[in-house]
Amino acid sequence: MTALVLIEIENGKVRQASRSAIAAASRFGEVDALLLGDAGAEAASTLAGVRKVLHVPALTHALAEPTAALLATLAPSYSHILAASSSSGKNILPRLAGLLDVQPISDVVKIEDESTFIRPIYAGNALATVQSSDSVKILTIRSSSFDPVAETGGNASLEVLDAPADDGKSRFVKLEQSQSDRPELEVARVVISGGKGLKDASNFHNLLEPIADKLGAAIGASRAAVDSGFAPNEMQVGQTGKVVAPELYIATGLSGAIQHLAGMKDSRVIVAINIDPEAPIFKVADYGMVGDLFEILPALTKAL
């Protein structure tokens, strides 16, 4: 059996989430990687555990339509096709599955065997073990559940592929990236997140950033904080945002709705700071502190 992994490049490097997907794929046998766009060929070829990199320089924007069409032509050579459960993976792989009339399996957290997988359902309130009868298995991988392969040590061969014919029905217009010097949320060792309790955007920045700076942490947000404009959307942690599992997760001024817990309850140590002793976040927190975060957070900054 051979697996194919659709990988993503960011700032010239292979994203950690893609390296986790390669680690998952190695459970099925040899692993090839599909790389889109004109950057990252060298980084991809040194990935540990990759046999061959299929490189499509002409597909620069990873649009779902041509990418799924290309993957469909490659599918007969593979037993498993994987990607990270990133916005790109979730956009493209189900489309491929639609072309092949295969039932894709989203957000896999554990591989039991070549056709049996475990995935969370109902916002992580249950774990379903599912078995696929499809001849090619199409999986997206929850990156926090698989240790990524190393960036170096591999020596994959490189094969350049042409882009598939473009049907012209979808066109890339623009990408607006938010700039951040902090570690990527999904891979940060420490995450500090804020909710509605921070009251406005300036408090959100002024109270959380000094702690994040001291701990080298990424900053996350609850949906309420994002909807109130305290933080941009890509900082949202939860069922509909990012799923994180850092060493330390500090939740401040957020109640801990089930949709938020779905995104962080696999963190190793959870700290909750909230004024309401009944807030559900205290039920999952290893260390809780009941009190006013406008006093506690500056004191915490000082104590660190």
């Binding site: 916005s87 639609g98 938010s178 949709q259 999952v284 260390y287």
Partner: protein
Amino acid sequence: MKVLVPVKRVVDYNIKPRVAADGRGVETQGVKMSMNPFDEIALEEALRLREKGHASEVIAVTIGPQVAQDVLRTAMAMGADRAILISTDVDCEPRVVANLLKAVVEKEQPGLISMGKQAIDDDMNATGQMLAAKLGWPQGTFASQIDIADGHATVTREVDGGTETLALTLPAVITADLRLNEPRYASLPNIMKARKKPLETLEAASLGVDLTPHLTVVKVAEPPQRTAGIIVETVDELVQKLKTEAKVI
């Protein structure tokens, strides 16, 4: 153009689901069911497109047993013009749903399909993409803004690290993200009116689609529970615990 809005009846998002005693699924007997929140947003967007003159008719469709009519009545109370129930007692995976919806699309010929990005029960996030593939239509997933002009949809999408804008030739499939809009409530008069709107029932078995799943649920289990933590009184105590006990800072 017509806009087709697939909606799903799911366990209400405020309910904490309990794994059924037989380990085959989640308890749904006697549990409050509602329209999937992302589908409400997709429906709201379709209604706004009709109000702006881009759509002539909004059709809600669902797949499930007779009782699933209630989400279609809700959709019509919000403003959908009519509804279609694809009747089946079989649990349909996204692949089968996409095949059934394709049959409805071929019959109704909509110019746009507006649907939720994922259902909050199976959390698959797949049906829209699969349906677009099967129809050969372009897709605009995780949409936070949609503008229609000259046979095109300009879709702003929420992606990792920012937003992306695509131009799609209609017909297309667009899946709604949370920030697309704030869905309206159904008023009491509109709930009454919705009872008189047309609701057509199609038997799933009559649409020529094999309902046999490719993915079988072997087991559903509770996730591992976290052990109860402690409440600390001071910031110094917290920092101390994190340093010496948890060893995370």
